[in-house]
């Protein structure tokens, strides 16, 4: 065998081992990085960038597309929890939510408790919008609900209030942590942000969040808390749950779910 051929063979073997070792180490390396907190911090920087870019390219008041009635999905898929099924929730459900009271408090001038009748008396909006789940699917539904901005006008947030936190009736997973979510004042005051009590002209089904769920049309589905029991205005959500602003955020999902 000539030196040249030998050389070529060595090179080929070297390349093959390099590819094998490279491939395996890239995979295990990515897994190790996925678990390390410093690298998650690095990856998280893109989240800030995405949020800034989206806010820079769209206005505060930019509207989500509204669809004609014929676009409504035949069945609006219910995802996540489809029934809180706690003793307290079962009692509410048994009397058709007539004893339901939404507590609104925190950093506000006038804390309030509102019945479903009170909420339905607030300025309302009906909109046919597309719901985008973080998993990738979309469904179109018609939502009717009180504008969150109208409710906030009544309770009057204090100047230091920066976030609106939604506390929910459902508990989740093995930890049985209560579901909660939070949005900033920009989205809270957006005209399409609703406390919805109707889906497709019917009272909100249990699977979709009865009696009241949030609609934040410019974000993904997991932001739209179902079974809303209390609303709290806060300066910071650092001491709620694990401090990331929501149930799924505490499990690694982005707080700003604009994509």
């Amino acid at each position: 065998m000539s030196d040249f051929k030998k050389d070529q063979k060595t090179r080929r073997t070297a390349l093959k081992s390099l590819l094998a070792i490279g491939g395996a180490s890239v995979l295990s390396g990515c897994d190790r990085l996925s678990r390390s907190s410093w690298f998650k911090g690095v990856l998280g920087s893109a989240e800030t960038l995405s949020s800034r870019a989206q806010h820079a390219l769209t206005s505060r008041q930019s509207m989500a597309r509204e669809f004609p009635p014929e676009a409504i999905s035949p069945q609006f898929r219910a995802n996540g929890n489809t029934n809180p099924d706690t003793p307290a929730y079962r009692r509410l459900l048994a009397d058709n939510f007539s004893s339901y009271l939404l507590q609104v408090g925190g950093q506000v001038q006038n804390p309030m408790n509102l019945s479903l009748t009170d909420i339905k008396a607030l300025p309302s909006r009906t909109q046919i919008t597309r719901h985008d789940c973080v998993e990738g699917w979309s469904a179109i539904g018609q939502w009717t609900g009180a504008q969150l901005s109208a409710l906030l006008a009544q309770v009057q947030p204090l100047p230091q209030a920066r976030y609106v936190v939604f506390h929910c009736a459902d508990r989740w997973g093995s930890s049985q942590d209560p579901y909660y979510e939070s949005i900033d004042m920009e989205d809270a005051l957006h005209p399409q942000t609703l406390l919805a009590y109707e889906l497709n002209g019917e009272p909100l089904p249990v699977a979709n969040g009865a009696p009241l769920r949030l609609r934040v049309e410019r974000q993904l589905g997991y932001k739209m808390a179902k079974y809303v029991m209390a609303i709290e205005l806060v300066e910071s959500f650092a001491d709620i749950g694990s401090g990331n602003g929501g149930f799924w955020e505490d499990r690694g999902y982005a707080w700003y779910a604009g994509i």
Binding site: F4, D7, R11, L15, V26, L27, C30, D31, S34, K40, V42, L43, G44, S45, A46, E47, L49, S50, Q54, H55, L57, T58, S62, M63, A64, R65, F67, A71, S73, Q75, R77, R130, D132, C133, V134, E135, G136, W137, S138, A139, I140, E217, R218, Q219, L220, W248, R251, G252, Y253, A254, G258, I259
Partner: protein, 244 residues
Amino acid sequence: MSRTHATTYSFYRHRLPVRITHWVNALCLLILLMSGLQIFNAHPALYWGSASDFDSPWLALGRFPGWLTIPSWQSLATGRQWHFFFAWALVFNAALYLIWSACTGHLRDLTPTRADWRGFGRSVIDHIKLRHPKGEAAKRYNILQKLAYLIVIFGLGGLMVVTGLCMSPRMNTVMHGVLELLGGRQSARSLHFLAAGGLVLFVMVHLFEVAITGLWNNLRSMITGRYRYHANGTEQTKPEARHE
């Protein structure tokens, strides 16, 4: 084995910005593909239109195996973090490449000339017969190469960015026209997946061409910039017969 008095020249084929952006691009594409498959696995079905008609996806697959996804276990949250970070990295990298290319005239190297178009048919046949440009001709991009790169950069690359942005409910508020054109958000998601498939196809053909036109020579030229070729067009038979 040597047949002629071949003179081997060493030619500075790829300038540093091309080499750096090439490898950053390769890394980003690999991670975007694997984290993208992780995201796909969260709902492994594709639809046309605005909403998902769960009864009739045009494509419903099982989940991609762990060795193809980042991370290897199922975690949509982590896959998304990887995907968006490297999507930004790719956008910055592509911007650097395009600005540099526009400023230095490198984009002209990619623009097909009239002579290129005249040789289109011959180039197709040459590629099919695995007959590749030698000597001086190997110093420039051939017509199929130019077209492939242009389609990948401005066609598939552009489609990837636009359909990716279509996934954003916030960006959707200013993209009504684009969504209309593409057929809705679920269509955009399908196109994002198909364009990724197109990029995979390109990379496979690219790696094949790299391998059969002189793997080490090509690899070297993308690492150090130096490419070796023969002035009289004969094959390089003895690597030591070079006069740099």
